[in-house]
Symmetry: C2
Subunit: 489 residues, 2 copies
């Protein structure tokens, strides 16, 4: 009422001034301004505008199908059967696909994937996830009651962070995240009003993680917040490194000593390309360190249907496994996920197939293995190609893409270009990427969207475009970089 | 470090003491303790335990397929085609289903529903939603750029609330919600730390909404918070009323005068059963009130694939339309939804089919109409049956179920039962519903989970069980209520 009296010309209720200030602070570069510009450019091209390129190549996001990867036949057959169970009477679907579909449908209310599931996810899917984790981790027990299915991994990560965040001012929860990081983390922490504690990966050592760096960051943070969690992405996004077992042990020991809740983002667990690299799950390493650790350290680990060989991003399937979570907090977690009723059931079904694929002797096994191997070996080939070609460009240097789906090369930006960018209020690598987009149609994400050491510049580029497109992309990039460097030298 | 020194026996990092206090305050009765007990009872029955009933009847949640409703053939055919496009070459799918599937697939990156969509949702689906709204609202223009697809309606509602909430102490945002309410609202407000402003629906007048009640609630709230939004659920959940056009006009005028952002939860828009009742969308009424209102009042309205005739809850499809949203805030909204990448694409596809069903002359039209009519007329029949049978029980009185999917009858609980419940620290209607569950296997949600006037008691019961089951349920309920009343009189 008072407000009405003083504002005869009434503006909007919801404005930049009145809105949630935490949301204003959120940033998400992977779909930020550069991607919006790419979409505009695509429209301009469709409408016949003249550009120095004939198509926009989006290498900004790990979206395999959009880049031409074909879905795995078995997964889609089962999903079709679940969607329209009349097809179960058709001859041309293999028996193992039908068997899987029947099992999933039986677990659904009324035999329909249109029914809500339990909020934690269908029980049979959680059982299959637990068995998958046991196989993956050499038999270490996994309890389906510790598995929470989710709407992609992002949903589970944010849910866990929500539980962890509390306090005001100097008692606010601090969460340690790697720099460079996947910006879901910084976005969620901004939204929740938590303190982001940066620890830097060592670019010179192939983006390795040093406990001394963790300790230094933690000590500094303790002066102004209450650090409570440590997030690790392994294999790394955007940096593509694969952590060694030794490194994971060090991180776990550090978390135990410093009483930090561990969050292990392991959505790229099947995307390992480099010789000598192997995926070690945090859970397995934790249990191998003995009961002193495995009985105490609190861990949540995350997986997804969006990456690996399947790349089914659109279905928004995922799960998290929690270890050593306080039972009272588990009840709170269940209550929290109940409010959103349940994760999408088609995504749950897909998650089930990913953790329980065709077995040897089943009719779909040969084709499944053939398709999966083709995707993974082609990704490995592209990982090498990208590294090699990027390193052939003077002024660009790139660590090996050991795993995940991205390269994160360092780029030299001439001093004059940096000044021009700063004059425009742009991060120098944003300036670079925008120029690249306008001149070549290549859409990358500037390193500043992920965080990087001051004075260094990078971009993230997926390895997902098909080989022939990748070669074109990298040769255009090379030309651009040379032109850009000349222009500003 | 200090913490380590003072606690030699280190407990958990994440405990009830350290966790987010807002999450502790969240309550969600629709999947609360009573439903957890129902799930336990089902397991006990399966394991051969002797109970005074042979099956648990869940009438706690609007989950149509779980209650035996069959999916609509056309919707599922298109979803199967989208999941496994090889089926497009099969003869036995109708041409209109194939056409729809091709159109959706063409809109997806790489022609796959496994690709991420734009964060706001696939453009072609948003176009179809806009055209649907225009048809529904008699031609009032709808702009696809105002449509945001979502993970069920819940997701969009929470997103909108997130934007609206700010401030601390007496400047905290207040949001008006009806009592009784659907507990997503109270849960989201608790999580966001906003102030819940209750306004009471008038049970004596068939749960109607009085502007004088709104005004009184608002005036009281202005003393301790900043009221900024008004949420309406129409048709009502849990109360089943359908608001008149006059009432909606009054609400809009009130929102305009008092500068409140309107949130219209219209997910039951096709679930209208009572003679003389009609669904009026807030948007249509707003625009019919003239530019003074239609150019100024900020409105978000919500719809879903989960209710109406389709009942496809598991797919988590939904949309919101925003009207008069500040363009700068729209950019913030887009940024916010980008962090979660996109709503599930199968749910988006389903939303498309709901707003763009088979048209007259298309091959699937006759069967589609037949199936849809069968569902809706059976729901109408059950709405009448439930009202009638509930009102035949002495001590229970029920308003007409004009729309939506629930009855919310008032129950007399004897004074002695109230005392016994209070001694156990239970809400009296929770005590009643738990006894009902243990003795009959019927699972309802106590009125206290939705809010009700002090000293009144209710439960929410869906009208979704098949007629024959509903009759059994209601006769068991009658016996129970009489036994319970005798026992405590």
């Amino acid at each position: 009422m008072t407000e009405n009296c003083v504002t005869p010309h009434r503006g909007k209720v919801l404005t930049m001034d009145t809105m949630n200030p935490n949301i204003k602070r959120v940033e998400y570069a992977v779909r930020g301004p550069i991607v919006q510009r790419a979409v505009e450019l695509e429209r301009e091209l469709r409408e016949g505008a003249k550009k120095p390129f004939s198509e926009v190549i989006k290498a900004n996001i790990g979206d395999a199908h959009a880049m031409g990867q074909k879905p795995i036949t078995f997964l889609r057959q089962v999903l079709a059967l679940c969607s329209y169970p009349d097809l179960l009477n058709e001859d041309h679907f293999p028996d193992d696909a039908k068997l899987r579909a029947r099992r999933i449908l039986q677990a659904c209310g009324g035999g329909s994937i249109g029914a809500y599931s339990m909020s934690q996810g269908l029980e049979c899917v959680r059982q299959d996830v637990a068995r998958y984790i046991e196989r993956r981790d050499g038999g270490i027990r996994s309890d389906p009651s510790n598995i929470y299915l989710s709407t992609g991994a992002s949903d589970a990560i944010v849910t866990m962070l929500k539980l962890l965040v509390s306090g005001e001012g100097s008692t606010r929860t601090g969460v340690m995240i790697s720099i460079p990081q996947y910006p879901l983390y910084s976005a969620a922490l901004a939204e929740l009003g938590a303190v982001q504690i940066n620890y830097y990966l060592n670019e010179e050592q192939c983006w390795s993680l040093d406990v001394s760096e963790l300790r230094q960051a933690l000590t500094a943070a303790r002066k102004h917040c209450r650090p409570r969690a440590l997030c690790i992405i392994n294999p790394g996004n955007p940096t593509g490194q694969v952590q060694s077992k030794k490194c994971i042990e060090d991180v776990i020991r550090f978390a135990a000593e410093e009483r930090l809740f561990l969050m292990a983002d392991e959505v790229y667990q099947d995307n390992i390309y480099a010789e000598g690299c192997k995926f070690h799950s945090f859970k397995k390493v934790l249990f191998e360190m003995g009961p002193e650790f495995s009985n105490t350290v609190e861990l949540a680990s995350f997986h997804s249907t969006s990456k690996c060989y399947m790349g089914e991003c659109g279905f928004r399937g995922g799960y998290m496994e929690v270890i050593n979570l306080d039972p009272a907090v588990k009840a709170q977690l269940l209550k929290l996920v109940s409010v959103r009723l349940c994760p999408p059931v088609p995504g749950q079904a897909l998650m089930d197939l990913v953790v329980n694929p065709p077995q040897e002797g089943e009719p779909s096994h040969p084709q499944f293995i053939k398709e999966r191997t083709a995707v993974l070996s082609s990704l490995a080939e592209r990982a090498r190609l990208v590294e090699q070609l990027l390193n052939s460009i003077p002024g660009i240097s790139c660590n090996p893409v050991q795993g995940a789906m991205y390269s994160f090369p360092r780029i030299n930006i001439p001093e004059r270009a940096i000044k021009e960018a700063q004059a425009m209020g742009q991060a120098p690598d944003m300036f670079y990427c925008l120029r690249l987009l306008e001149e070549t149609g290549i859409c990358l994400v500037p390193g500043s969207g992920f965080g990087q050491k001051d004075g260094t510049y990078h971009f993230r580029m997926t390895i997902l475009p098909p080989t022939e497109k990748l070669e074109v992309l990298l040769s255009k990039l090379k030309e651009f970089h040379q032109r850009f460097t000349r222009e500003y030298s």
